[in-house]
């Protein structure tokens, strides 16, 4: 029973003897192998650690187990929330939207506005036009957005709804209510690509449909597209760096403030790229995308339709940030400011302070394609060995070669493996057969940690079970110091863990590292 002076929740309650008895009693009625024959569980568990299992596991064709990717509309919602007073609107079932909002909210610990037009069976039969007509009007009336960014779910895509025509139809019947609202729209079928594809499609659509008035090129204006960026601190730092090169370097799709508002009042919309700035994007001198593979389609619009200079940078780690800073200097014709030079020197200094701990450490890492390019580059710069690089949503073209080129800079590149299209259950096998010292990845690495005991350093998306990491930057020189801090201290925590046994290993339990 509960002890009033020490009320415990489930974590400790169920360890009390009466509950242990309950759990034991329950086994009598259970049919799981652990209840019937625990030895068999052990046998199979051992088998899952074997090379035989690895081969079978890696040969899977049809079933995905523990993926490391999500679907298109999630990315589309992120894009929409990067613009001022913009409501993401998902043409489809509200179940999807409940999932998107929950997913982001669990990561950021912040509200996530997004509406749907609640398509259902009747829409499946007759199409979703009626939903769109009511939905846009209701959304406009309740949430008073300047822009409604419409994306789709797989349902709307399968039945083939014509978004453009629907929106025109809805506007026609709205008695003028929608006349002053921008309603860009993008097809974001969940069965194509992943969340980064949805990011790309929505960004492309917003740029094409809202930034339409080509006048004269503003030689000082540069657009920066951040990509699917779960680290709000990164957005802040990129803006800070950009500001050093000019006032007209504008982030397009800046969702930093939306997911970082203060206590005191709730604001539906916060921050975001100003619609005016969005409209002017077409007249910029150049656009820099910070996630090449989250903006493949967007790049085509900028290069081919806008005939604008288009560059990609990946400012994660030292050389990535160097390239970004030099690109800004080149495009603006300005010198690299002293402050940045100092920041770089400090990062290098910090890397030189900490390198013995990362050097030679074997690391498994997973995440989105551009995240991985940046992170692996940093690991190589630090002398770590990216032994397994798992990219579930790896792009078909070029990505693997680009990753290989980065790994080739390591003097132990032959030990580095790229695993495009593989999921985290495949990684589980790899961690048993070709083990590493540490893992870097999102919350889903938690079960891999439990099963393989490989320590997990949480960097990625989503992270639900640790707080506030998303507030930090992992981009730029200062973001580099954050990465270095997380990884180095993760390694040192593990070292303490391994050396804390009294009179056994604690001779190495040093106070100074």
């Amino acid at each position: 029973m509960q002890d009033l002076d020490n009320i415990v929740n489930g974590q400790k309650l169920f360890l009390k003897p009466e509950y242990q008895e309950v759990l034991k009693n329950k086994k009598e009625f259970e049919g799981s192998m652990g209840a019937i024959n625990p030895a068999k569980v052990e046998e199979i568990q051992k088998w899952t650690e074997s090379w035989d299992y690895r081969e079978k596991n890696l040969a899977r064709e049809a079933i995905t187990v523990n993926p490391a990717k999500a679907c298109q509309p999630l990315g589309a919602v992120m894009v929409a929330l990067g613009f001022e007073n913009t409501m993401p609107y998902v043409h489809g079932s509200h179940g999807c939207v409940a999932y998107f909002r929950t997913y982001f909210t669990r990561h950021f610990k912040e509200p996530t506005p997004c509406v749907s037009d609640s398509m259902s069976e009747s829409a499946a039969v007759f199409g979703g036009l009626a939903n769109m007509k009511d939905g846009l009007r209701n959304c406009n009336a309740l949430y008073k957005p300047e822009m409604i960014a419409v994306s789709t779910t797989c349902m709307a895509e399968v039945i083939g709804d014509d978004l453009g025509a629907f929106i025109i139809g809805a506007k026609d019947e709205a008695e003028g209510e929608l006349d002053n609202v921008l309603i860009p729209n993008a097809h974001t079928p969940s069965f194509v690509g992943s969340h980064i594809t949805g990011y790309d499609n929505m960004m492309k659509s917003i740029l094409e449909q809202v930034s339409t008035e080509k006048t004269t090129v503003d030689e000082e204006r540069i657009n920066i597209i951040p990509g699917f960026e779960p680290y709000l601190g990164s957005l802040k730092e990129i803006k800070k760096i950009s500001k050093m090169f000019g006032d007209k370097i504008v982030m397009i799709g800046d969702h930093e403030e939306q997911w970082d508002t203060g206590a005191g009042e709730y604001k539906l919309y916060a921050g975001g790229t100003k619609i005016e700035d969005l409209k002017g994007s077409i007249n910029a001198k150049a656009t820099i995308s910070l996630q090449k593979y989250s903006s493949i389609a967007t790049a085509k619009t900028i290069k081919n339709k806008w005939k604008q200079t288009y560059e990609t940078c990946n400012p994660i780690g030292l050389s990535g940030t160097d390239a970004f800073v030099m690109k800004l200097a080149e495009l603006t014709g300005k010198e690299i400011p002293e402050e940045l030079k100092q920041q770089r020197a400090r990062l290098v200094d910090a890397m030189q302070d900490s390198y013995p701990y990362m050097h030679g450490k074997k690391i498994a890492i997973w995440g989105d394609p551009d995240f991985l390019l940046g992170m692996v580059s940093f690991l190589v710069e630090m002398g770590a060995i990216p032994t397994h690089v798992v990219c579930h949503n790896a792009p078909r073209k070029n990505w693997e070669a680009e990753m290989r080129a980065i790994l080739d800079k390591s003097n132990r590149s032959d030990e580095c493996n790229i695993w495009p299209g593989k999921d985290l259950w495949a990684l589980r096998s790899l961690l048993f057969t070709e083990p590493v010292d540490f893992m870097i990845g999102n919350v889903y690495g938690k079960e891999l940690y439990r099963d393989t005991k490989t320590p997990l350093i949480r960097i990625g998306f989503p992270i639900f079970d640790r707080h506030h990491l998303h507030r930090y930057s992992m981009s730029g020189y200062e973001g580099g110091i954050n990465l270095l801090t997380w990884i180095t201290n993760g390694i040192l925590d593990q070292l303490d863990e391994e050396t804390k046994d009294i009179a056994e290993t604690d001779y190495f339990f040093d106070s100074v590292r």
Binding site: Q2, S32, P67, A263
Partner: protein
């Protein structure tokens, strides 16, 4: 504040909220909003419109049929593998979020927190996904040999592209002898999670109930009961089980939190089905009554008042021995819960609460709050039906705002107007209200605490509510340089 003032404030809040809508939506939403009182004339609990299509274009808190089937009913069955059949998103967003606790070796003999998906691509949409599904079933059996069955949970495209997953499941079952259930719970079906519960129940009825293999040699006792509609969130079913066992009953099955397939299959051997979540599992309870003659009763294990009431009702189905033992159990725990109330009630007395949860808790948890002296002034269901609202009436303590399928705009406005001291709803709402400086508790996941079912759990509930209401963090919202007192 007298009850009349409260009621008029509530009515006024509804009128103001409706003003923002265009005419068509306003007309629709008006039927879902109202007030009700514990006594007297018919109120909103009798008349509210529910289980209807959500108004398009709002920030609904509802989920879909897939969420109801895979997320709620099937997903927690621990020794089966549940495939999210279709594109990758649904399984990923619903992975590990509901806190359905279980004991087992994950990935080997139990699989609840994992995500199995057929990860549809364009080709699967165009040419159909049946072949891929067949192959997926085979791969699962090879790599996870200790699974005790597979369920296929359809996502939206499956029903639209005309795949015949029932046939695929049937063939696989025939070839392997393993239970394989195809559930057509496409997200677009129905208006919320609710239809997903129903479809999931029907599949249990059609595929699990006829399976007598585990029932054949089952040795019954007169005291066998099954827990139905407890998803073991934070361990709820375990803290329930303890009490039932102490009463002298034998719990032969838990549906579906921490359940094994066998427990589903042997449930028809129970003498009484104990139904906690009425909304999600009344269908199968009724079926077992008709098919196997097993009576079922609803119970409520939130807070000592309701728990004790429920225990006596459960005991009344059994002999005097059980009834006597039950009184002993009640006496033993009442001493503890009285002490809990003595400790926490002074800090919570008179605090106003607004609830917005799924299909059961909007009424079931009222008693627990009232045990602590807290007053529920608003409640509503994401996906309740008329019978849920009717059942709510008896739990009301005062004039209560009733909102069905409330969206975020409405909730925000209601809260601003009624100024409760605590909002208890879901994660999507949590940070909205916390930003306003309002204490909030998630009542789907127990905000990462729990269990909340049973006597021991009430101590946790009380402690959590005190934690929420009386944390010093809420005093920091206003900066020291802000001198004006707001709306005193």
């Amino acid at each position: 504040m007298g009850p009349e003032t409260l009621e008029s404030l509530q009515k006024q809040a509804i009128a103001e909220v409706l003003e923002a809508y265009p005419e068509k939506a306003k007309k629709n939403r008006a039927k879902h909003l109202g007030t009700d009182n514990p006594e007297g004339v018919k109120g909103s609990c009798d008349t509210t419109r529910s289980n209807k299509q959500t108004v398009p274009g709002v920030m609904s808190q509802r989920g879909c049929a897939y969420a109801g089937s895979k997320g709620v009913v099937w997903g927690p069955i621990k020794d089966m593998i549940h495939i999210s059949h279709g594109p990758i998103g649904c399984g990923q967003y619903s992975r590990g979020g509901r806190r359905n606790y279980y004991i087992g070796t994950t990935g080997i003999d139990t699989f609840v927190t994992m995500n199995f998906s057929t990860d549809f691509n364009e080709k699967d949409i165009v040419f159909g996904g049946d072949k891929k599904l067949k192959k997926a079933l085979e791969e699962i059996d090879e790599l996870f040999p200790l699974n005790n069955g597979i369920s296929i949970q359809s996502e939206c495209p499956i029903g639209l592209i005309g795949d015949d997953i029932q046939a695929v499941a049937k063939v696989h079952k025939k070839e392997t002898g393993h239970q394989t259930v195809a559930v057509s719970c496409e997200g677009f079906r129905g208006v919320s999670q609710s239809l997903g519960h129903h479809i999931a129940n029907d599949m249990i009825r059609d595929h699990v109930m006829p399976d007598t293999s585990h029932r054949k040699d089952f040795e019954s006792t007169p005291y066998d009961v099954a827990i139905i509609g407890d998803y073991n969130i934070g361990g709820d079913a375990w803290s329930t089980r303890l009490i039932l066992e102490e009463m002298g009953l034998r719990v032969i099955a838990q549906w579906s939190g921490d359940a094994t397939y066998k427990e589903l299959a042997i449930a028809p051997k129970a003498k009484l089905n104990l139904l906690h979540c009425y909304r999600s599992m009344n269908y199968i309870s009724r079926h077992m009554e008709q098919e196997f003659g097993i009576p079922w009763m609803e119970y409520n294990f939130f807070g000592p008042t309701k728990t004790t009431e429920s225990l006596r009702k459960i005991a009344s189905f059994f002999d005097e021995k059980i009834q006597e033992q039950t009184e002993k159990v009640i006496a033993k725990y009442t001493a503890m819960t009285d002490a809990v109330i003595a400790k926490f009630r002074p800090m919570l007395e008179g605090k106003k609460v607004m609830l917005y949860v799924g299909g059961l808790r909007p009424r079931h948890v009222i008693g627990a709050y009232e045990d602590l002296g807290m007053e529920v002034i608003g409640t509503g269901y994401e996906f309740g039906h008329g019978d849920d609202y009717k059942r709510t009436k008896e739990d009301l303590g005062r004039s209560t705002l009733i909102y069905d399928d409330a969206n975020e705009y409405e909730l925000e406005e209601f809260v601003k107007k009624l100024r409760p001291d605590l909002v208890a709803a879901g994660v999507k709402e949590k940070y909205v209200f916390q930003k306003m400086g309002l204490p909030f508790r998630q009542m789907h996941s127990w905000d990462y605490s729990g269990p909340y079912h049973g006597y021991d759990a009430f101590a946790i509930f009380a402690k959590d509510m005190d934690l929420a209401m009386n944390s010093p963090v809420w005093n920091h919202t206003k900066a020291p340089w802000d001198k004006e007192v707001e709306g005193a």
